[in-house]
């Protein structure tokens, strides 16, 4: 199915004053937090460069990195599975859950599981799936999907959240207490815990979870089985590289030096250990990622999903996440979604940007998002996804403007074009009078 048009969603969101207020406040707070946290570092540019290099080492040898990670993880007793696409990943998870006879699955926040549509698959297989991240839990109650990578329920007000949680008070403490109460049983009785992974470490086979609510730690340690879903590009080679990433991730996402909980998990419970799951699986997801290796878009695989680019994007600030019609939104989504889902399906996204470059400045791993958007636009033209009319118009324009004579003749013609031909512009803006060219005065 073709997703809803970006413009159609944007047209609904822009006049929504409640949404505009919520987006303004939340994105400004996260952005200001990042700027303050970056400013407090000795040399953020050097750190960003090191992070870029650490990710580049992995991305340039992605198959090798995946193999090294799998070998290390399996040596620690982890079952690993490399899933080529969503169907393979979902089937694997459904099967290992069914084998355990799982009835209740507790999840911590994971963008990859959103990408997979995993919850629907498990629910169809008869399991109850409960999101335990506060924002995700609220969205699950509302039957909605995340609209921000870091703050998934960014567009909800306290009043709406109180209604969803069945609370009368709209005080934040009362709301979090209600969610905590409602989720407590899930943590204690879940048969399986499913988490994402912020990073996987090739050397040790560890996965690293970064959360602020501690739910990731509960979900990964209380149930008897822990299933991790990780995009194949989320790897770093060493624990040293991990520390570089961790110094940047929380600072860039929320302005924290570190998130409240940073958990490194290396294998399931070992003999003599008191806690941890008996069985652990890591599903490594390709789903279009390996196609980007070695190509013009390889730098996109360095993305650490911090959301910094969303918070500075003047377009995202106006539309929110829903306009992007995908789990990934904002500038990183405008690049990644067409790459994973196909240009044809998401042909509006490369143009859902004014190319202002704010995202490039904000990206902790220095992904040249603006350049990648331009490359996607080029592909739209060269793969003939852009309309025939557009291609013909630009070709005719460039032929006319390939000489000063052609320019003078074509712009002289513009004088006789009636103003209403520019209706899409003049409906909401004035247009300067045409036909008073500067060159004619010289």
């Amino acid at each position: 199915m073709r997703p809803a048009s970006f413009r159609a969603v944007a047209r609904e969101k822009v006049p929504d004053t409640h949404l505009q207020g919520a987006l303004d406040v939340a994105t400004a707070r996260l952005r200001d937090g990042r700027l303050a946290a970056w400013a407090a570092l000795d040399d953020v540019e050097e750190l960003r460069t090191r992070a870029h290099e650490a990710k580049t080492r992995v991305v340039d040898d992605l198959d090798g990195a995946v193999a090294r990670f799998r070998a290390s993880a399996e040596a620690r007793g982890v079952h690993t599975f490399l899933a080529r696409d969503a169907a393979e990943a979902n089937a694997y998870v459904a099967e290992v859950c069914a084998r355990r006879g799982a009835k209740l699955v507790a999840k911590s926040k994971s963008m990859v599981t959103e990408e997979l549509g995993l919850n629907d698959v498990l629910e169809t297989a008869g399991m109850r799936v409960v999101e335990t991240d506060l924002g995700e839990y609220i969205l699950q109650l509302a039957g909605e999907h995340p609209v921000h990578i870091i703050a998934p329920a960014i567009e909800k007000t306290a009043g709406e959240i109180a209604t969803l949680l069945g609370e009368e008070s709209t005080e934040l403490e009362a709301l979090t207490a209600a969610a905590r109460r409602q989720l407590r049983d899930t943590f204690l009785t879940a048969d399986v815990g499913i988490t994402g992974a912020n990073f996987g470490v090739c050397d040790t086979g560890s996965i690293c979870l970064v959360t602020n609510e501690g739910n990731g730690r509960l979900v990964s340690s209380l149930p008897r089985m822990h299933v991790v879903l990780m995009g194949m590009e989320r790897l770093v080679e060493t624990l040293d590289d991990l520390s570089v990433m961790l110094r940047l991730l929380a600072r860039s996402a929320t302005g924290q030096k570190l998130s409240t909980y940073t958990t490194v998990i290396t294998g399931p419970r070992r003999e003599g250990e008191q806690d941890g799951p008996e069985e652990m699986h890591v599903v490594i997801l390709d789903n279009g990622r390996s196609r980007l290796v070695g190509g013009r878009y390889r730098e996109m695989l360095a993305c650490i999903r911090c959301g910094a680019c969303l918070n500075v994007c003047p377009v995202y600030r106006k539309t929110g996440g829903a306009a992007y019609s995908d789990v990934y939104c904002g500038p990183m989504g405008a690049v990644l979604v067409p790459l994973l889902a196909g240009l044809e399906r998401s042909c509006e996204l490369p143009h859902a940007s004014s190319l202002c470059g704010a995202c490039v400045e904000a990206c902790p791993v220095k992904i040249p998002l603006e350049k990648l958007l331009l490359e996607l636009r080029r592909d739209l033209v060269e793969q003939r996804v852009a309309s025939r009319t557009e291609r013909i118009l630009f070709t005719l324009w460039s032929l006319a403007w390939s000489s000063a004579l052609g320019y003078r003749l074509s712009t002289a013609l513009a004088r006789v074009v009636p103003q209403r031909a520019f209706g899409i512009w003049t409906a909401e803006r004035t247009l300067p009078p045409l036909g008073r060219r500067y060159r004619d005065r010289r």
Binding site: F6, R7, A10, R11, V14, V312, P314, V315, R317, K318, T319, E348, P350, H351, A352, S353, S354, L355, C356, G357, A358, V360, E361, L374, L376, R377, R378, D379, L380, V381, E382, A386, E390, R391, F394, T395, W397, S398, L399, W401, S402, S403, A404, Y407, T411, A414, I424, W425, E428, R429, T430, L431, P432, L434, R436, R437, Y438, R439, R441, R442
Partner: protein
């Protein structure tokens, strides 16, 4: 007398001839002879930013043919200067600032806001020169609430996503409410912001060259 080549840009030539004339006037007053190569057309940016690379190459060749490599090129457009970065093209305010030009006190007592165009500030890093020039002309600069935000022009973006583009322009204009003029160094931003401001009855939006040569208000 040293010479410079003036690149009017397509938007400057077609939409803002007065601003280009003001740029020429400023350069002359600063002691430069201003050459206007007749073969100039456009930097090709409209096509490049829309992904039409072959069309962009065709058009940027006019620039290569029209301009001499031996004389500095100055343009009253931040984004065209960024597009032509590899040719060493000077953005007007950076050029005037680097040459420490004297400016008449045309803006004494005026309060102006300055809008940074994205490519000029982020790609070329030109942030202070236009502000210094405005101050040198007597103006007081009133900071915008979010100088980092784009005005919503973005070339074809403003017609592909008109609702978002207008909301961005409106926010920028609201932030400038009450000043004598909102000044910018980019014909693209000028087209968008002045067009919107005139439509909604907002503040005057003025090209930097005009603000310096003639004063605002």
């Amino acid at each position: 007398m040293p010479s410079v080549q003036l690149f009017a840009t397509c938007l400057g030539d077609l939409m803002f001839p007065d601003a280009v004339a003001d740029a020429e006037e400023l350069l002359r007053a600063a002691g430069f002879e201003v050459v206007f190569p007749r073969g100039q057309v456009c930097c090709g940016q409209p096509a490049f930013n829309s992904g039409h690379r072959a069309a962009a190459r065709r058009v940027v060749r006019t620039f290569e043919r029209a301009f001499s490599r031996d004389l500095p090129v100055v343009t009253p457009s931040g984004s065209c200067a960024a597009m032509l970065h590899e040719y060493g093209v000077w953005e007007l305010s950076a050029f005037l600032d680097a040459h420490d030009v004297e400016l008449p006190q045309r803006n004494a007592g005026r309060r102006v806001a300055y809008h940074d165009s994205c490519h000029m500030s982020r790609e070329l890093g030109i942030v202070e020169p236009p502000r210094r020039l405005l101050e040198r002309s007597g103006a007081t600069i009133v900071p915008l609430p979010r100088p980092d935000l784009c005005c919503g022009f973005g070339g074809t973006f403003c017609v592909r996503q008109p609702e978002v583009s207008l909301a961005m322009a409106d926010e920028k204009l609201a932030g400038a409410a009450g000043v004598d003029a909102l000044v910018t160094s980019d014909p693209g931003c000028l087209l968008n912001l002045r067009g919107r401001s005139e439509h909604t009855g907002g503040v005057p939006v003025v090209h930097l060259a005009s603000a310096l040569a003639r004063g605002v208000g």
